[in-house]
Amino acid sequence: MSIANKAFVWLLFAAGGTLTALLFPVLIALFLLVAAGVVPSGLEYEAMHGFASSIIGRTALFVVVSLSAWHAAHRMRILAHDLGIRADRAVAWTVYSLAAIATVTAAVLLAVTRSPVS
């Protein structure tokens, strides 16, 4: 991993860190509500599908999923080192590949989520 690449993934890590710090508490609270059997109206199928079909909603969901994935990937690489795992090249390949797969999967899923033709 060259220094130039490190700066790039660090930027994704920092952006993802800020985004998760700001957004994840409320996101986890929503998961908690759903787990408790309380589904707010905005999370019902019509509303959620409409949100994910809109340009703004689609962009927001893509940014959240991809930045979270890259943030987690970079930090897991550092965590592996801190836990005494010295196979950095293999770890970096694994975590960044997973983040890339998450990014592409989110992009494809959101691209095929279309408003139903009425």
Binding site: A21, L22, A29, G42, E46, M76, L109
Partner: protein, 134 residues
């Protein structure tokens, strides 16, 4: 003549148990595991949504309703707030190259701006989710 600088011996694993500072650092780093879990959960939600069948989405919602998930999310919420959100807001002025952030008053302003952004964004998400309705 080769230089042989002194390298303080440090165990490869378990070094973080030595000091409260190291332990707190490792707990902050461990929040990435929660981020990974929720990223996977979000992608599973996108799978259910992309199918275009209301039944798949309702099935996904039903799959999330379990007492185990309640415990997990409640723990995750406390852990994430304590070791990711709050520390990240506090360190923001230190990470910023703003010349202003060197002044304690300006640094406090940067931290306050993060808390305000967090409040506004949380309110927006709850409003979009329809929590304020009914």
């Amino acid at each position: 003549m080769t230089r042989r600088p002194y390298v303080r011996p440090m165990p490869r694993a378990g070094w973080y148990l030595r000091q409260p500072r190291y332990r707190a650092y490792m707990l902050r780093e461990a929040t990435c595991l929660l981020v990974a879990v929720y990223t996977v959960l979000l992608i599973s939600a996108l799978f259910a949504l992309a199918s275009g069948e209301p039944g798949r989405w309702n099935g996904w919602l039903a799959s999330q309703q379990h007492v185990g998930w309640i415990v997990f999310h409640a723990f995750a919420l406390m852990f994430f707030w304590s070791f990711q959100s709050a520390p990240w807001f506090m360190l923001a002025p230190k990470a910023m190259p703003l010349p202003l952030a060197r002044f304690p008053a300006a640094a406090r302003l940067v931290v306050a701006a993060h808390y305000l952004t967090w409040l506004a964004l949380s309110g927006l998400v709850l409003w979009l989710a329809g929590v304020f309705e009914a």
